[in-house]
């Protein structure tokens, strides 16, 4: 990380000091635009904005999470360009990554909050347990208290991962910890949700860059996700879509269809209802993504993705065991039907029994 003296310099100044050429900077901007899913026509604007951007303080809080999000991000961390981004920010608190521990660590957080009050960026991964504050604590502070305390002075909050954004796996039925999302608790700060289990690293950095470059929130969809990354469904951008349209499906994981790369809808792919950038941005430096690897999309960037029944049941299938329901219902209904039929017969027999012979004298009133 860059030393504290750089805090007040712009990114342009910092880079020049490091002897990085303008040409390298342009390359950086072009890659950033690509990462932010912005049109290449935006590159000059990005260059201009980055030139003048100042180094922000970032506090990262981890609650009920698996550190997968941090893992994902640090995978994106080794490259020259992306390391620049991380060099650019001042990551003042991240209990997994920071060297400091114990009181010193908490001290770092408090100092960062104090010095950058109202300006720092708060990143949260993990959900917050509300049933019992003791379910998850850091340095004796409950997740809830730490979040509310840290959120107060934040310029904006980025909820990284589905747990922070929507409750995620801790929130899955029966939600034993009473897990909630950041957005459930904080209503008075701008929140950017970057869901995914984990999110695509480039999507995390892209979102951060967007915020840091333009100093404003990216355009968000109705559940707080940046439209640049979550604007289209996996299905709409999937290269296997033509197979879906033609009705060519893999029926099992090892049949001809699977080998030919046909659509995975029948194997439970949640691509049609999942909004994420996997199909274009892909994973591991653009190498591949689950569907390309032959596995259906789990829908991990959507709320409650864990509660949609089996991952391997197609979207059009009911999530419960309907066959059993049908059999039980049919048995019950057959009994009810016989009862109702008996009532009908009784009704009719009664009508026949009360029948008075009609003679010609009975034809008039």
């Amino acid at each position: 990380m860059i030393n504290d003296s750089n805090r007040d310099k712009t990114l342009g100044e910092t880079l020049r000091e490091q002897g990085i050429s303008r040409r390298s900077f342009l390359k950086f901007c072009a890659t950033t635009a690509s990462m932010m899913a912005l049109s290449p026509a935006m590159i000059p604007k990005i260059a201009h904005a980055l030139e003048n951007a100042r180094r922000p303080s970032v506090i990262w809080l981890s609650f009920q999470e698996c550190t997968g999000c941090t893992e994902s991000l640090t995978r994106a961390h080794t490259t020259t360009i992306e390391s620049l981004i991380f060099d650019f920010i001042s990551l003042d608190y991240h209990h997994t990554l920071q060297a400091a521990s114990g009181h010193a660590a908490e001290q770092a957080r408090e100092t960062a909050m104090e010095e950058n009050y109202g300006k720092y960026l708060l990143i949260v991964d993990g959900s917050i347990p509300m049933d019992n504050p003791g379910y998850s604590t850091i340095a004796g502070i409950s997740n809830y208290d730490m979040l509310m305390d840290t959120a107060k002075g934040a310029a904006a909050i980025v909820a990284v991962g589905t747990c922070a954004a929507y409750g995620g796996i801790p929130h899955a039925k029966p939600n034993p910890t009473g897990a909630v999302s950041v957005g459930d608790l904080i209503k008075d700060k701008p929140i950017i949700n970057v869901p995914g289990c984990p999110p695509i690293p480039v999507v995390i950095t892209g979102t951060l860059m967007q915020f840091l470059t333009f100093g404003s929130l990216p355009e968000l969809d109705h559940i707080g996700r940046p439209k640049a990354f979550y604007g289209k469904s996996i299905h709409d951008r999937c290269y296997r879509r033509p197979f879906y349209d033609k009705g060519l499906f893999a029926e099992t994981f090892d049949d001809e269809g699977a080998k030919k790369g046909w659509c995975l809808y029948k194997l439970g792919c949640k691509g049609p209802t999942t909004y994420n950038a996997c199909a274009t941005t892909k994973w591991n430096d653009g190498t591949s993504f689950p569907i390309e690897a032959g596995h259906p999309c789990l829908g991990c960037s959507e709320p409650d993705f864990w509660d949609g029944g089996s991952f391997y049941k197609a979207l059009s299938m009911p999530t419960e065991n309907i066959t059993r329901t049908v059999i039980y219902t049919a048995a019950g209904a057959a009994a009810a039907g016989v009862a109702l039929g008996a009532m009908n017969r009784h009704k009719k027999n009664q009508a026949v029994a009360t029948h008075n012979r009609t003679s010609i004298d009975d034809l008039k009133k």
Binding site: K266, T273, P303, S316, P318, T323, A336
Partner: protein
């Protein structure tokens, strides 16, 4: 409730409720009809009830020339929208998966663009049928609220299915959930409205054919 929660509900408990009402309703309605019974015909038979009944089940779909000419619109639109419903319901790959999940076996699907086109054709046919119902004197006169309600519930899954497939107006999970919900609505009202004809048509055609067939007339 998030949209995925909504989708999970219609795929889970919502579907359970709908299938219970649908299955129970259909069985009960059939029991009600069949257990009423029918007196044996004591007159000397001139033809076969079974033969007449089976013939009529099929032949009633193909009217004689005069009947066709007099009700050409009803016949043609009826064929189109029933065929369209059959194709869109039973030959669309995701739908077949749903049936397969319940009954344990599936069958080949038609390519999606064909289903897409059939959906549009069926929707147009149903709209035309509504206009016809309102414009035709006898039809308008005999039409009840139920007729219009059932029409609406029938066209809804087609429209919501079309929107869900093309992702028009809302996000994909919401559209899919609304589509499934509209089908569940259809399943719930099915046994208690004229929609039951889809099942009882064989029964009533059989009775008609049997009554005629017994007298030696092919109806």
């Amino acid at each position: 409730m998030s949209e995925i929660e909504f989708l999970n509900w219609v795929r889970g408990p919502g579907f359970q409720i709908a299938i219970i009402i649908f299955v129970a309703g259909v069985i009960i309605r059939f029991a009600e009809i069949l257990l009423l019974g029918r007196k044996p015909n004591l007159a000397e038979a001139k033809g076969s009830e079974m033969r007449g009944g089976l013939c009529t089940i099929v032949s009633r779909s193909f009217p004689d020339k005069n009947t066709f000419q007099r009700s050409a619109f009803t016949e043609v639109s009826g064929w189109i929208f029933h065929g369209g419903l059959f194709i869109t319901i039973f030959l669309f790959a995701p739908h077949i998966l749903m049936f397969k999940d319940i009954i344990g076996f599936g069958w080949p699907a038609l390519p999606t663009p064909v289903i897409d086109a059939m959906t549009v054709v069926t929707i147009i046919a149903l709209l035309a049928i509504l206009v016809h119902r309102i414009n035709n004197r006898a039809l308008r006169f005999i039409s009840t609220k139920e007729d219009y309600f059932v029409w609406l519930i029938t066209i809804l899954p087609l429209i919501t299915g079309y929107l869900a497939f093309h992702r028009i107006g809302m996000t994909a999970p919401t559209l899919l959930a609304i589509h499934i919900l509209s089908v569940e609505l259809l399943m719930v009202i099915f046994p208690f409205t004229k929609l039951m004809h889809a099942f009882t048509i064989t029964l009533s055609r059989w009775y008609n054919g049997a009554i005629s067939g017994y007298r030696g007339v092919e109806s």
